[in-house]
Symmetry: C2
Subunit: 374 residues, 2 copies
């Protein structure tokens, strides 16, 4: 694959490009740049989003995906909206806040179920209120919001590094691992969640081999994770999802690393469809299952996984691959986007502040507490 | 899907068309007709194979697939070869047998690993020798071979019906079932193996719902099984392979039905990749796993599954879907065509002569014995 990455921004530790970053040298006063994930792995294209609308479009069409990455993109989107709407002559403080709230609503509607997106927007709106309450001018608000977006991006990158360092301790030299979906650079503003320990262990000189589930229906494993591991030089083997059990039995797999969409107070984990099956198979083969996710994924308001609604996506994601029909056009389809893994199948949950283990109730509350203190 | 099936031959019990049959009304003296499976589900095309070469081509390019169906196609192919090569003026008996042996070699090379293909050809060659040894003329040999091919096809169809009747007793009214790959009409000369109990239970008026694994990489479940179940009016839901565990937990699945490529003396089962994972998951969810296969699938010469070589197929089957690349072009891939399920995960093996259960050693030997007696 001839991909010209000269234009990208690399994570030095992995050689994998960032999926998004702020570029001060483009457009007037800078813009968000991001890798168009809908075109990977065939084409590596960097988009320039210089307006709120461009960011909304990128989020809506999945050019940027992965909960942490969407949150960061939304933060930059709101900063771009502020730059355009609050230019001279500046509106009054109240009008400025109303304008920002409207822009945030447009961004939120781009992926209504994305929790990190709403969280990042709330954070910027709070920052704007505090900024004006403290007597700063509306004219300086766009720069303050851009600064907050930079902070969110930097925090996410730091959390990825911390999860990588902690998770790498769970990996031994010579290990054969399995991962599912994409929880790497392309899903975050840093080196990823579930892939961070793998990248870090590789950098530490540990010899690894990683089985990569292709992850039907959207194929994030085949399209994105295989691409990232190739960029980072981590030896890997792509398999179809239904081969995982065979290679747990015959391929020497020693650990399974996955991300998470949401983790409940008792340690139940909602993640990409297929994760629960891997957890059952891993237990049957006495292989540890590690969930790697930032503390912000832990939702202490939910007691257990039964409270998590399961998103049902379009049947055509299953009936079609790359536009081509693979089943009769009217075939009834089930397409749950994720499943729930009960905490008793989870060996450990790696966060940026520490590793939680059973009993998860106390362990997660303690780690999540560090966030409210921060 | 607008499919014109007027030209096909139906199995009355299911409404599913046969995948191959002899048609005396086409070509000079009849020809083998078969559904081009490479074009399903988008297009229902019936090919006419009036020559040995046409049959070889159809087998080689997977227009006909499924072990029993390939065996029947090869038998008709050899009969067609005999018709052309042994026409007036007839060769002598020895030359005729040499000609047939050459033709059988060409057919065997079309799918060198297909056991049923070799078995069917051996049976026709034995019939030819016996025919001439008994003083019959070379001129009558083509008709004798065609008759033997008809017998093989009829026996296969009868075995499917018997497996259907026996297996249907394992299915209760209201059951939700899961099947993998395609073990239906399109894989046999009758109503199938693993799908036969499902078709039969449906005909008996039992209300069923069947989850259909799409079965990556070749997607036989999505392309073929969903099509067959739709034709037969059996309610079904297509899922990606990695959803099976989720629906075992949340979808009320009460039984898993699969076919087999080979069954060893101790009851270990080689079948399409993914079967082993389903077996582990079924056990974890206390769901019975039923293997449905004709006695000829039982290979008493192999003590257990460790002796079965696992065929590794082209990496492009995984890297591509319908021609489109779904991963970086150079991604390392594993593509084992099947896996081995240890007999302790198999609830029962349904054959045309009876249902084998653990301990399988004695149970299978008794059933297999009925074949040698026959």
């Amino acid at each position: 694959m001839a991909v010209d990455l000269r234009d990208g921004v690399y994570i030095a530790a992995t050689g994998v490009p960032l999926t998004l970053w702020w570029d001060g040298a483009v457009a007037a006063g800078g813009a968000l740049r991001l890798v168009d994930q809908t075109r990977l792995p065939e084409t590596y294209t960097i988009l320039t989003c210089a307006t709120l609308d461009a960011v909304v479009e990128a989020i809506r069409t999945l050019r940027v995906r992965g909960a942490p990455a969407i949150g960061v993109a939304a933060a930059y989107g709101l900063a771009l909206g502020a730059r355009a709407a609050l230019a001279e002559p500046c509106p009054g403080a109240e009008d400025a806040l109303a304008t920002l709230a409207t822009a945030a609503g447009v961004l939120r509607a781009a992926r209504p179920t994305a929790v990190n997106l709403a969280w990042a927007l709330e954070r910027l709106l709070s920052r704007a209120e505090a900024h004006l309450r403290n007597g700063a001018t509306v004219a300086t608000l766009p720069q303050a919001l851009l600064s907050e977006a930079h902070t969110i991006a930097a925090e996410d990158a730091a959390a990825c590094r911390a999860m990588g360092a902690l998770g790498a301790e769970l990996i031994a030299d010579g290990d054969v691992l399995l991962t599912h979906c994409n929880a790497g650079s392309l899903a975050t503003a840093g080196m990823g969640t579930a892939l961070a320990p793998i990248f870090t262990a590789h950098q530490q000189g540990k010899r690894l081999r990683v089985y990569v589930d292709e992850t039907r229906p959207v194929l994030q494993g085949a399209r994105l994770t295989a691409w990232e591991l190739a960029r980072a030089g981590v030896p890997h083997t792509l398999i179809t999802d239904n081969m995982a059990a065979h290679f747990m039995r015959c391929g020497g797999i020693r650990g399974v690393f996955v991300g998470a969409d949401r983790i409940t107070a008792n340690g139940d984990v909602a993640n990409k469809i297929g994760t629960y099956g891997l957890a059952v198979l891993a237990r049957a083969h006495e292989i540890p299952l590690y969930v790697v996710a930032p503390r912000s994924t832990v939702d202490l308001a939910l007691a257990d996984g039964s409270a998590i609604p399961i998103e049902e996506r379009s049947p055509d994601e299953v009936r079609r691959v790359g536009g081509a029909l693979i089943a009769p056009a009217e075939t009834p389809v089930a397409n749950p986007a994720f499943d729930v893994t009960p905490s008793d199948l989870v060996t450990a949950i790696v966060t940026e502040s520490g590793i939680a283990r059973a009993p998860y109730g106390a362990s997660l509350a303690a780690l999540r507490g560090k966030l409210s203190m921060a």
